[in-house]
Symmetry: C2
Subunit: 228 residues, 2 copies
DNA sequence: GCAAATTAATGATTTATTCAAG
DNA sequence: CTTGAATAAATCATTAATTTGC
């Protein structure tokens, strides 16, 4: 009975979940997750939670709800599809490899490869960082421009979603989709994330920072987990 | 005097360094760093070493040489330019901010912002990981395909380039341009980097891994710092 | 540049398989 | 051996991206 909490009780056909967060009308629309929601989902998946329990699903849903309407079912489906498609890619890759070892080059292309993805190209994609307070409330995000997408890794990593609420005195940080936990309090953003870090509030506003990348004014929403 | 070893004795104009690693001919061509070399340089810069000493420069040059011809001068110039351009961006940003606070939105767009950069878009850029052995020799790189560029953060971080050679029993890892150090030995790549991680040798070949993302065969070049 | 047409991604459903309890 | 829960695999359907013709 070690598998206690697992089991959604409605895996397959009949949807016993609430239909959809949207209340707009009878036209059944499917959930379109926000980029940040996907960021979180990917984070969780990549931190090892590939098949969350019912409880974990609810926790994740609550987390995602900070960013927009979403139901447990959406979260459940997302992980189901993510697992499935991850496995399929894995199989296809494996197949193409045994078929012809030289096909590896092709497979590499699929993955983006070392070449195009990193720097030297002029594409200026940004690292994404989301900062949350102790209760996993969404606070704001950090976007760093520059030649390449790279970040410093904060200290501790939380690989357990169910612990999202715990660890008082720390903030949970998503960096490029990876869950991290750092001690709360003022931080030198530039030291942590590089020279040209930007603080972007979830509203889209840029937050003014001083020469260390430290917030000049305190935050409006949530409790101030980040500098005062 | 905490700034002991600093000072190149030729910071500005005259290049006292050896001209250029290339020996192709009299047509003086400028150094075109490989993507991986830029990855390393950005890593180092972002880990805080924005103005390496002469010794550090040489260390970095030796490191970069694993990937292609490069001289101390190239490294020196790169950091000089990097600092300069970082400062300029910083000024421009600051200027646009004081000019009109609402210009922040624009500045965010420049940085890529939360929206476009992450998942949901079809662009499949990959996370870059480079693994090195104890003597900072380049071994191979890891490229991860998938929806977004995100990685797990290994345990310890080396923020000091001059320590690249030290720390026996560990491997230095670049993840998305961030220097990391992890204890050497076999590792569960999938556990560390997610489900669909690929091992890509610097030659471009895909390296066969087992279901845990662990190398099936030992590496050819360098000493085996990663599984046997 | 714009908007219809096409294609690619991906959320949601359905069907098949696995495995443990009785 | 049967049953039911839980997943995995396959499929359907809608949304977002991209292309194409004006």
């Amino acid at each position: 009975m070690e598998d206690s909490n697992r089991g959604h009780s409605n895996s397959s056909s009949l949807q016993r979940f609430a239909p959809n967060g949207n209340v707009t009308g009878p036209v059944r629309t499917r959930w379109t997750p926000k980029a940040e929601q996907i960021l979180i989902l990917e984070s969780i998946f990549n931190s090892g939670v590939v098949n969350p329990t019912k409880d974990e699903t609810a926790t994740i849903r609550r987390l995602l709800e900070q960013l927009g309407p979403v139901g447990d079912a959406n979260v459940f489906y997302w992980f189901q599809n993510r697992r499935s498609r991850s496995r399929r890619r894995q199989r296809q890759l494996q197949a193409s490899l045994v078929a012809d070892p030289r096909a590896a080059g092709v497979a590499q292309q699929v993955g983006g490869g070392v070449q195009s993805s990193s720097a030297s190209s002029s594409s200026s994609s940004a690292a994404n960082v989301m900062l949350m307070d102790d209760s996993a409330q969404y606070l704001f995000s950090v976007s760093r421009m520059g030649l390449m997408e790279s970040t410093q890794s904060p200290v501790v990593r939380s690989s357990d979603v169910s612990q999202l609420h715990h660890q008082p005195g720390t903030v949970t940080v998503f960096i490029d989709g990876v869950l991290n936990e750092v001690p709360s309090g003022p931080k030198d953003l530039r030291a942590m994330f590089g020279q040209d870090v930007l603080l972007v509030h979830s509203s889209g506003e840029l937050l003014p920072v001083n020469e260390h990348g430290i917030l000049v004014q305190s935050l409006q929403m949530g409790r101030k987990a980040y500098l005062e």
